[in-house]
């Protein structure tokens, strides 16, 4: 455990049609858990089923909620986080990220933009915050490396 114990994070996931998202979500959960964060994963039902299939005993993924419930809980002041990592590969993903950014003004906010159109999608971002942009579809390694650098995560060689 590190100094980050007691800190809370939110992972916001978009449509799961781009393969790297699921792998990077599990990896992010693993890194946050290793760093002592408690965290919540927000996504649509397909995202949750993919994650539960990838990690059936929940060694990494922990608590999950729907995007709608996450927005409602944060809007009503029932939830707050120190770090929000939002994955987006489409205009809709940016809209969800923008909503979370608005609702969590004091959180460290990192938008992970990926997919074939990562560059053009990143130009739709109208809010302040860190961005990691990578044309990643099937291979998560370059994005994993960038995320690890930005978030200060120790990277294994496998």
């Amino acid at each position: 455990m590190t100094e980050t114990t007691d800190k809370k994070a939110l992972i916001v996931l978009g449509c799961p049609e781009v393969p790297v998202q699921n792998a990077l979500a599990v990896y992010t959960a693993y890194q946050l858990k290793s760093s002592g964060y408690s965290f919540l994963i927000a996504g649509n039902p397909a995202v949750m089923k993919l994650l539960m299939t990838s990690d059936p005993e929940r060694h990494y993924i922990g608590a999950m909620t729907s995007l709608e419930k996450a927005v409602e809980d944060i809007s009503s002041g029932n939830d707050n986080v120190d770090l929000c990592i939002a994955f987006a590969h489409s205009d809709a993903g940016i809209s969800y990220a923008a909503t979370m950014k608005y609702l969590l003004p004091s959180a460290r906010f990192i938008t992970i933009v990926f997919g074939r159109e990562a560059e053009s999608i990143s130009h739709l971002i109208e809010y302040e915050g860190e961005q990691i942009v990578e044309v990643a579809v099937h291979n998560p390694m370059q994005l994993r490396k960038k995320m690890s650098e930005v978030l200060g995560w120790v990277v294994s060689k496998s």
Binding site: G14, N44, L67, V71, D91, S95, L124, Y127
Partner: protein
């Protein structure tokens, strides 16, 4: 399925970016209000880049509805109460 989808609605446009939806509503609705993300409309927190443009035309409400895998739709729903409520929760944009 969200509760908005269960209401009687008409899809005015789809496949637009969120910014294009904002412009569409600003151009086509007689009255436009700005609301912030998470503001409830028809019982659901509305998603989008702030400010979110929502239009009214009498008792009709026109607004963007974002679905993670399907993009943004512009929906039209007839609801006198919600149209009237928008005047109290929304802010009229400044004229350019």
């Amino acid at each position: 399925m969200g509760c908005i989808e269960e209401l009687k609605h008409e899809i005015l446009a789809k496949g637009l970016t969120f910014k294009e939806c904002r412009d569409f509503i600003a151009k086509t609705c007689p009255t436009v209000y700005h609301i912030q993300p998470g503001t409830k409309l028809f019982g659901e927190g509305i998603i989008g880049n702030p400010p979110i443009a929502v239009g009214t035309d009498g008792t009709v409400v026109v607004f963007p509805y974002v679905k993670p895998c399907h993009g943004t739709f512009i929906l039209k729903i007839e609801d006198p109460k919600e149209a009237a409520r928008l005047a109290t929760i929304g802010v009229k944009p400044k004229k350019k």
